[in-house]
């Protein structure tokens, strides 16, 4: 009985690890069903909200009656009247929503967005009408009539679905809004109105025909706007332990930004993220699968490498190898190569499996191609090609740890110690990188810390983050060291490091006595 239990428990553990990694897409899909990862917030229906607002208005009216009118201005009365007006605007908005069939407030398209702006216009009109007509300026009069006209247009939108009209309306409003701002109005107008143009280009129906996820489109373009703003201002935000700081952009960062903007716009226009939910979930599941899978394989390969030589010496099976008519360096090479192939092989297989699973669970349109800038143009790498390369590049740091464990095994001849030390350093590196990122230090000597040089992936695939959903992107930004040595430096450094480890192991294995 215990024998069966022993065998089964090992099998179960193995399965949990491997299948857990492969089945992450399923887990995410199921979680989404239950807890809504994609952030479809639970919203009350418009009718419920309306009831609340109606009750609110009633309360205000009651209180107004109680206060009564005695002719003189009363601070409380003014407050109440303002409040009542706001509530009435809100009521109007809700009524229009319900009348247009948008009781469910989770639907997002330009009509809903337009209806949402009703209270603003009403408010503006109310403010402007407080000014006697002979004291109003020409611009104010113009603005007033614009607002009234806009309200008419808004009322028409539910029927005519005229997104173009909405875009031009929005742009006009922009001009009015910006007129009171200090600074480069033209530039701001440029940026913000181009966003609207892009929206129209990407989806002329404004989300009403259901082909494009309007909400996601808007989010993407908001992001682009943010980037453009940052680029224009020449500064970017940096988050570290001292909070938020503005840091000037280096020329390299500026180029990076403009490349990113080009890619994002390209994505929007080509309609890459058509189905938002799926790609967010796919991105999330990919992120976890990659991390988890890499971790499992890292542990496995460190154990294998750490015991490669020391265990053979301990059990004595190395005798057969030494007696064999093969020079020791050949045995050494064979061991390294077999470890390497196990590492790469299992990474590729695991990666293939969970991406396949992701494909099955989320559908093919969740597999975004990798986009990058080549000679000023946006170019694409097909998804599976990118994944393959990504896995290989990402395994370079694993290889270093493999060699480290192997070296310890050869030098110390103690499996437990070799495995413990290399595993500990593997687990610790993540923390070091984070620590440096948090401290925000940028010093020359840091270049020589091994851990900062492992991230070749970010240098070779600088636009990979674009494939991630926003929340993961934030996480990534927080954990990726803000300061990393350049690609050339890192590559050379890694090569030197790998050579050193190989040399030490080689020397120890081929020349030392085996007692």
């Amino acid at each position: 009985m215990t024998k069966i239990l022993r065998k089964v428990s090992t099998l179960v553990l193995l399965c949990v690890l491997i299948l857990g990694c492969v089945f992450i897409p399923v887990i995410i899909r199921v979680s989404d069903y239950f807890i809504g990862i994609t952030g479809d917030e639970y919203m009350t229906s418009a009718e419920d909200d309306r009831n609340i607002v109606v009750a609110q208005i009633k309360r205000i009216e009651t209180e107004l009656e109680n206060i009564g009118t005695d002719g003189s201005p009363n601070q409380r009365r003014i407050e109440l009247l303002d409040s009542k007006a706001e509530s009435e605007f809100e009521l109007e908005r809700l009524n229009l929503l319900i009348a247009s069939g948008y009781t469910d407030q989770t639907v997002v398209n330009f009509v809903v967005e337009a209806i949402g702006t009703l209270p603003q216009y009403r408010r503006t009109i109310r403010e402007l009408e407080k000014i006697p007509s002979d004291l109003r300026s020409v611009e104010q009069d113009e603005y007033l009539s614009f607002c009234k006209e806009s309200i008419d247009r808004i009322y028409a939108f539910p029927q005519n679905h005229d997104f173009e009209s909405f875009v031009s309306m929005h742009k006009e409003k922009l001009r009015y809004d910006l007129s009171s701002i200090q600074g480069d109005r033209d530039r701001l107008f440029e940026v913000l109105s181009s966003k609207m143009d892009l929206m129209y280009k990407a989806d002329p129906s404004g989300g009403t025909d259901g082909t494009v996820d309007y909400g996601h489109l808007r989010e993407s373009l908001d992001y682009v706007t943010e980037l453009k703003d940052s680029l224009d201002s020449g500064y970017s935000y940096v988050y570290d332990f001292s909070g938020e700081r503005l840091v000037p952009l280096s020329p390299k960062e500026q180029k990076n930004l403009s490349d990113q903007i080009a890619i994002e716009e390209h994505k929007v226009i080509s309609g890459v993220f058509v189905n938002k939910d799926n790609s967010v979930m796919a991105g999330l599941s990919n992120f976890f699968s990659v991390s988890f899978g890499k971790f499992i394989i890292a542990v496995m390969i460190i154990v294998l490498a750490g015991s490669a030589v020391s265990q053979e010496i301990a059990t004595g099976s190395i005798k057969s190898l030494i007696i064999a008519p093969v020079r020791r360096w050949k045995i050494f090479t064979a061991k390294i190569l077999s470890l390497l192939s196990i590492m790469v092989g299992s990474l590729l297989i695991l990666s293939f499996l969970y991406r396949l699973m992701s494909l099955v669970v989320f559908g093919p349109d969740s597999m975004g191609d990798y986009m990058y800038i080549n000679n000023g143009n946006v170019a694409t790498l097909p998804y599976f090609v990118y994944s393959f390369l990504s896995v290989l590049i990402g395994s370079v740091d694993l290889f270093v740890f493999l060699l480290f464990a192997f070296m310890l095994s050869t030098v110390l001849r103690n499996t437990a110690l070799s495995v413990a030390l290399s595993l500990a350093s593997y687990l610790f590196t993540g923390n070091i990188a984070q620590l440096f990122a948090l401290l925000g230090i940028r010093k020359r000597w840091m270049d020589f810390v091994p851990f900062l040089n492992f991230d070749l992936h970010s240098d070779l695939f600088p636009f990979a983050d674009n494939m991630l959903p926003d929340m993961i992107r934030q996480m990534q930004m927080a954990t990726t060291a803000s300061y990393r040595p350049g690609l050339l430096f890192s590559s050379v450094y890694l090569l030197v490091l790998i050579s050193c480890l190989l040399y030490i192991s080689f020397d120890s294995f081929t020349r030392r006595d085996i007692k």
Binding site: T315, G316, K319, S320, I322, I323, P325, D513, K515
Partner: protein, 309 residues
């Protein structure tokens, strides 16, 4: 003896661990078709020498030639003529015996599948070859280890303390296989041990090693007869008998009891002793000869006593 082919030649093998010289300029030749025994107390340097031959330890000085190939210059060709077991053979436990053999055979060139089966039969493991090594007893592991050592038909077979942990049946089987390999197949077998009785039965020639030095090499028979015959006389009065012999056999008399005494003498001297005793009026009840043992020779050569290095 000098016409025999030299399978392995060791010259000036030296190895020191710090200040301790474990193997001190050892030289000897190993002939094809013989079983050569290396005898010595614990710590004499037997294992160290064997490990040097097999490649575990580096040689500070000296050279080894196997099958005519110098090991330093043509390592792989030299080593392909060598097979060996150091202490207990260890194999990969989760694989079967035959899988281990097959894997090992792949390292060597030209070992056909039939040879593997043949070798399994030679060591008598045909019934258990497919079981996993972790299920083997020590004797079985020894057999498979031996199979592994000979699978590539080496010219030289080196075994370090091969009888360690074996039961008498196992020891006998090993002895038979080794003698067969040497005398029928011409393999040069070198065995190290500290168990004299075993060496006596197994070997043709014996080299005695102590404190890192090779003291002497002799044929087993020579050694036995070197320990000149011990004769035991059962007589009526040992005291009278000894007195009558006078000073001729001073120092050669031992094991005196009330009924008997032992005397170290050559075969030709025996009739003379009998006559002397009879003339002195001593009654002789029995005369028997005890074979000189290797132990005697060993003690003689090493100067007696176990030395702990």
């Amino acid at each position: 003896m000098s016409e025999e082919k030299v399978a392995m030649r060791i010259q000036n093998a030296t190895k020191a661990f710090g200040k301790n010289i474990a193997v001190n300029h050892v030289s000897f030749d190993l002939h094809a078709g013989e079983v050569f025994g290396f005898l010595g107390p614990n710590g004499a340097g037997k294992s160290t020498l064997i490990k040097m031959i097999m490649g575990f330890l580096s040689m500070d000085e000296g050279s080894i030639e196997i099958n005519g190939f110098d090991r330093k210059k043509e390592y792989e060709r030299a080593m392909s003529g060598l097979g060996g077991i150091v202490e207990n053979p260890e194999m990969y436990r989760d694989f079967s015996g035959i899988t281990n053999l097959t894997m090992y055979a792949r390292i060597h060139e030209n070992v056909p599948r039939e040879r593997i089966d043949e070798v399994i039969r030679t060591v008598g493991m045909q019934d258990r070859a497919k079981d996993k090594v972790k299920k083997y007893s020590l004797g079985m592991k020894q057999r498979i280890g031996l199979a592994q050592a000979i699978v590539h038909k080496p010219a030289v077979l080196v075994l370090d303390e091969p009888t360690n942990g074996l039961d008498p049946v196992g020891i006998k089987d090993l002895r038979d296989i080794l003698r067969k390999l040497a005398h029928e197949q011409g393999v040069a077998v070198m065995v190290s041990s500290h168990i004299l009785s075993e060496m006596q039965m197994m070997c043709d020639r014996v080299g005695i090693i102590n404190k890192g030095r090779l003291l002497d090499i002799k044929l087993v028979d020579e050694l036995k007869s070197l320990a000149v015959g011990q004769y035991k006389f059962v007589v009526s009065s040992p005291k009278t008998a000894i007195e009558s012999l006078g000073s001729a056999f001073d120092g050669k008399i031992s094991d005196v009891t009330e009924e008997s005494f032992g005397i170290c003498a050559e075969k030709t001297e025996v009739p003379g002793i009998i006559r002397t005793l009879t003339a002195s009026g001593v009654d002789i009840f029995a005369v028997s000869r005890t074979e000189g043992t290797l132990e005697d020779a060993y003690m003689q050569i090493t100067g007696g006593g176990i030395t702990v290095a």
